[in-house]
């Protein structure tokens, strides 16, 4: 499981391409490293695609309505930590909404890329 999130401090090297950017952050992909960088909430974290998928599921499973209406102080922030993944996010309601936008957008791009890859490269052209 340790291979899912590498421990090296990540940097946005030139092999990283921008996948999706919003005002609050950006997600990059490196074909060389076969990993993704998430620039959000003042940090850069490296994920593998499955880990990122789990992060997205975690962020989308937070009950925002409950968080907004509950007045106890413990619900001002939500802690998102993934099993077998060293990254942890402590996010406010506002940040969660922004994070959702970023993650959802990135996954739409992944899907779009998948369709493009299939259409363009899967059909051999012998000309």
């Amino acid at each position: 499981m340790s291979r899912m999130c590498k421990k090296v401090a990540p940097a946005i090297t030139e092999s990283y391409q921008e996948v999706f950017r919003t005002k609050s952050g950006c997600i990059y992909q490196s074909d060389v490293e076969k990993s993704l960088l998430v620039e959000f909430a003042n940090k850069i974290a490296r994920f593998d695609i499955r880990c990122l998928q789990r992060l997205k599921n975690a962020v989308f499973s937070i009950n925002l309505a409950e968080m907004a209406t509950d007045t106890s102080r413990t619900t001002d922030v939500e802690i998102i930590s993934l099993c077998a993944c060293e990254h942890c996010y402590v996010l406010t309601l506002r940040e969660i909404i922004n994070f959702r936008e970023l993650l959802a957008g990135a996954f739409v791009m992944f899907e779009l890329n998948s369709i493009i890859q299939e259409r363009i490269y899967s059909i051999p052209v012998y000309a």
Binding site: Q29, L36, I49, R50, Q53, F110
Partner: protein, 175 residues
């Protein structure tokens, strides 16, 4: 840009979720059949108990088949938790009625996965599911035939004793 998701796994997110649901369903079926075996045992229907013990094992095998497929194709196979297993049944007949309903639901669920696979053009998984389509033919046939014994033999007098004795002879031979 490389399609990292596709390189990781042959399975699309939704197909993978459906397959994990099926793992759960097969595990549930296995537990229900075990409960049926227990009920038959404590009510004196020895042959039917054996029949359901065997069914329980078959269902676990089905579960493992789905499990290994998801795992082998690069997906995340989720070890299933099952609850809500019925432990009591109204009658000997109701046990077999429930068994048939269970198999019908299973056939529908597997058809539903195939539908999704066709839509996603996942022919690899369609081919994997073919074994199950064939298996369900047998499963439904056996469940239906067992239930029919209640009509053919009748429950009066020593009827239930005779039905129980006839259960092991029910099998699907036409492949």
């Amino acid at each position: 840009m490389k399609d990292l998701m596709r390189l990781r796994s042959l399975l699309g997110t939704e197909v993978e979720a459906l397959l994990n649901n099926q793992i759960k369903m097969e595990a549930y079926n296995s537990s229900v059949y075990l409960a049926m075996a227990s009920w038959c045992d404590r009510n004196g229907f020895d042959y039917s108990a054996d029949h359901f013990y065997k069914q329980a094992e078959d269902e676990r095998e089905h579960m493992l088949r789905f499990f290994k497929y998801v795992s082998d194709m690069g997906g995340t196979a989720v070890s299933p938790s099952v609850d809500g297993i019925p432990q009591e049944f109204e009658s000997f007949r109701e046990v077999f009625e429930s068994a048939l309903e269970l198999e019908v639901k299973t056939t529908q669920a597997i058809n539903n996965i195939a539908d999704k696979c066709y839509k996603e053009k996942d022919h690899v998984t369609v081919e994997f599911l073919n074994w199950f389509h064939k298996e369900q033919r047998e499963e439904e046939y056996v469940a239906r035939r067992c239930l029919e014994l209640f009509e053919v033999i009748g429950e009066e007098g020593t009827g239930r004793w005779e039905i129980d004795k006839a259960i092991p002879s029910v099998s699907y031979g036409n492949e």
